[in-house]
């Protein structure tokens, strides 16, 4: 049994403690230790983006992040975005994905939405080209990229008042 280590961090706005293996990924911690299964395991090597979460306001692949490295940091998962009632952008993103039919099988959706939310935080006026670049690290195999891009563009446009 590998070394266990206690960490304290903020998860979706709530302070919490977890006991994790030192070699464990943040993804395994979220799904297997904490029981939040919205964040998906796709490839396990940072190629597909299904496991995208935000740490200290930046999007990262949780499969590449050591769970111990979450200590003292602010972690937001798709569950946090889903329940976020304070941000108009979170609400607009949820609505836009539904309205544009940007969800087919749904497996890439949590990662896509976490990346889209980070992208719009950093570049509120991102155009279609910038949005396509921004979600380069997220793979959809259904594949509904056009609808996904349209959904994200529409949120940016709403904020611009277009």
């Amino acid at each position: 049994m590998s070394l266990m280590h206690d960490i304290d961090f903020t998860l979706n706005g709530v302070k919490r403690r977890a006991t994790v293996r030192a070699d464990m990924s943040a993804l395994d911690m979220l799904r297997d230790v904490i029981g939040l299964t919205g964040t998906k395991y796709g490839c396990g090597e940072g190629e597909c983006g299904a496991c995208t979460i935000q740490v200290d306001g930046l999007s990262v692949n949780s499969c590449l992040l050591f769970a111990v490295d979450c200590h003292g940091r602010e972690v937001v998962t798709i569950e946090g975005l889903a329940e976020d009632r304070s941000s108009t952008r979170a609400a607009a993103l949820r609505d836009a994905f539904v309205e544009h039919g940007a969800v087919q099988c749904g497996f890439c959706t949590p990662g896509m939405m976490m990346q889209a939310s980070h992208l719009l935080d950093k570049h509120p006026h991102a155009d279609e080209a910038a949005i396509k670049r921004g979600i380069e690290g997220n793979i959809c195999r259904c594949t509904g990229y056009k609808k996904i891009v349209d959904a994200i563009v529409s949120v940016g446009n709403q904020e611009k008042g277009v």
Binding site: L3, D23, S25, T52, L58, F66, D69, H118, G137
Partner: protein, 288 residues
């Protein structure tokens, strides 16, 4: 797989090199290479997993004594967003722009890209043509000790460097480019994102009257390490960048590299790419 027996997150350089003293610590920074390598069994953890995230001496970008100093913990996103790097080292920003994906750029560090020592590492080619030096710290006889060496001498093989097991990469120092200095980077892959270079090329020089002087050329993914290309540099030095001159340099470049066949390309194809892309880059320099 070896098991981690201790986890340590030092908060100063002194603590970090003390922990590394017997060489029995695996260094964790962004984790984007460490995690998949350890999970695939390619890397065995040492006794201690040392997370260097909170070591302040490894953080930040600054101009100091005529050099741009970049801390080892600087992420690829931070490099791209740094006004100093944008102003003085645009070729490095260009390479970062071709680096993996946004999620990986947000986590991966410059120090990690260097110490991982992939022949295809995206930042290594611009760093080579910018004459970067690596700065290493260790603890000897109870005292912090430092050494610098040129990046061009740092790599010894795929994943292998001259960093001793008790040394920590603190950062890189890059001399401020002189006026008239130009530098270009080209990466060839099959898609823009998340691709490992089939080949990459860096060219730097002082552009004057249609020729480059004090030339640096580096190639990625054509040798066991990222490499400088001395024969191509000599051919390009002072060469008039007309059609015949460019063709000659591109020929030298093709003959100089000794790539291998692998899953991404054959050796023949890589030599063709080196030839064609060197030519296209020099055409671009000539038009500038």
């Amino acid at each position: 797989m070896n098991e981690i027996q201790q986890y340590f997150a030092p908060t100063s350089l002194g603590q970090a090199v003390e922990c590394l003293k017997d060489g029995e610590a695996t260094i964790l920074a962004g984790g984007t290479d460490l995690m998949p390598q350890s999970q695939a069994g390619k890397l065995k953890f040492k006794r201690t997993l040392m997370n260097i995230r909170h070591v302040p001496e490894l953080i930040g970008v600054a101009v100091q004594g005529g050099d741009v100093c970049i801390g080892a913990l600087t992420t690829i996103t931070e490099l791209m967003d740094s006004a100093l790097v944008q102003r003085h080292l645009p070729v490095l920003v260009d390479a970062c722009n071709h680096f993996a994906s946004d999620q990986i750029r947000n986590a991966a560090t410059l120090g990690g890209n260097i110490c991982n020592a992939s022949p295809a590492g995206d930042t290594l080619i611009p760093l080579l043509v910018l004459d970067a030096q690596v700065e290493l710290a260790s603890k000897a006889r109870g005292k912090l000790s430092w050494r610098r060496l040129p990046l061009a001498e740092f790599f010894t093989g795929p994943g292998k460097t001259r960093r001793a097991p008790n040394e920590l990469l603190v950062g890189v120092r890059i001399p401020l480019p002189q006026p008239g200095r130009v530098a270009y980077f080209h990466k060839f892959g099959t898609r823009p994102a998340l691709d490992i270079s089939t080949i990459s090329i860096g060219i730097a020089g002082t552009l004057k009257q249609g020729a480059l002087s004090n030339v640096r050329v580096a190639f990625g993914a054509v040798a066991p390490t990222p490499v400088r290309a001395p024969l191509t540099e000599r051919a390009l030095e002072g060469q008039r960048l007309d059609a015949a001159g460019i063709a000659q340099v591109a020929q030298v470049a093709r003959d100089e590299v000794k790539p291998i066949d692998d899953v991404r390309a054959t050796a023949w194809y890589r030599k063709e790419l080196i030839h064609n892309m060197t030519k296209s880059m020099l055409d671009h320099v000539a038009d500038a």
